[in-house]
Symmetry: C2
Subunit: 159 residues, 2 copies
DNA sequence: ATCGATGCAAAGCGTTTGCAGGGGT
DNA sequence: ACCCCTGCAAACGCTTTGCATCGAT
């Protein structure tokens, strides 16, 4: 949660993990990319590219928005970061690399992680035949995406 | 299905349903909107605004892309059509008004409807406490979104 | 020394908007 | 008659690209 004004830095372990993943994806580990990654894992929201840009400028003042976009793209290719699918507004980025579900507020557009374990067997539970039926059609399921949708209760109105 | 070259038209029942839903949303039922809706429910894919535009021009040749966007927006507000959330490329529109799940192919980006009933109790099944816990935090769940992700099997390679 | 990454500006793409005229109720 | 909708073009916001230079390996 880190609400201090201290710009986030990577521990040695995390820096190594970052470097490894980037190099495996054929990309280099730069100051800009480390700062973008550090910021993304320091917050529990899912910021837009512009929010990342504004935050990371405190660590790397001369960084450009284009570089943030390229850094995010590299991190996504390295599977350290994911794009959160959305119908409204700019793409949001998720620095939580483990599979998990989301909670979305319809009022604010905010997206949070759900404290519920990812259940790889969920498709089978939905319909035990479905997975087999799809496979017979040549479709192999590799994962799923689940999002609970709702909103914070409206202020109660006076009768 | 409908693979004939005949531009889709609405049955009287459907036209009435369309008119009702639009009027309830404070919008008018026009030739352009009827054509957009008719096209969307005639296909089992989830076309982009531009694909709708190109298709509907066969019925309403002078329609503009802006009008297609406005028609789609009106249909979404009337809850007859839904946007399909996606991280890549333009928004896709879904003319299947009943709640349902999606299957997404990672190779082609194609999205199809899943032949599995929508289970309103799925959040409770995930974790019986979760819904109650979120409610105590002031968050009311109104629905959920589920997508199975995968791809058609790769062509087998010759050894 | 090499070759990818950076920062800037400009272009790109999907989408929305302003407005005069047309059409639905 | 009213007011919303249409079609056109121009603007918009987010994202990508071209290019000269910089910096990581």
């Amino acid at each position: 949660m880190r609400k201090t004004g201290i710009p986030p830095t990577l521990s040695d372990t995390r820096e190594e993990r970052l470097r490894d993943a980037l190099e495996r994806a054929g990309a280099r580990c730069t100051r800009q990319r480390a700062a973008v990654f550090a910021y993304l894992i320091s917050v529990d929201t899912h910021p837009t590219a512009d929010q990342v840009y504004k935050a990371v400028r405190r660590t790397v003042p001369r960084i450009s928005l284009a570089t943030v976009y390229k850094a995010l793209e590299a991190l996504v290719r390295a599977r350290l970061v994911f794009k959160v699918p959305d119908t409204e507004g700019p793409t949001r980025y998720d620095g939580n690399g483990t599979e998990h579900y989301h909670l979305r507020c319809l009022q604010t557009g905010e997206v949070r992680d759900l404290p519920v374990p990812y259940d790889a067997a969920l498709p089978e539970k939905l319909d035990p035949d479905l997975v087999e039926r799809l496979r017979r059609q040549g479709f192999r399921i590799t994962g799923h995406r689940l999002e609970l949708i709702g909103s914070f209760e409206d202020e109660p109105t006076h009768p």
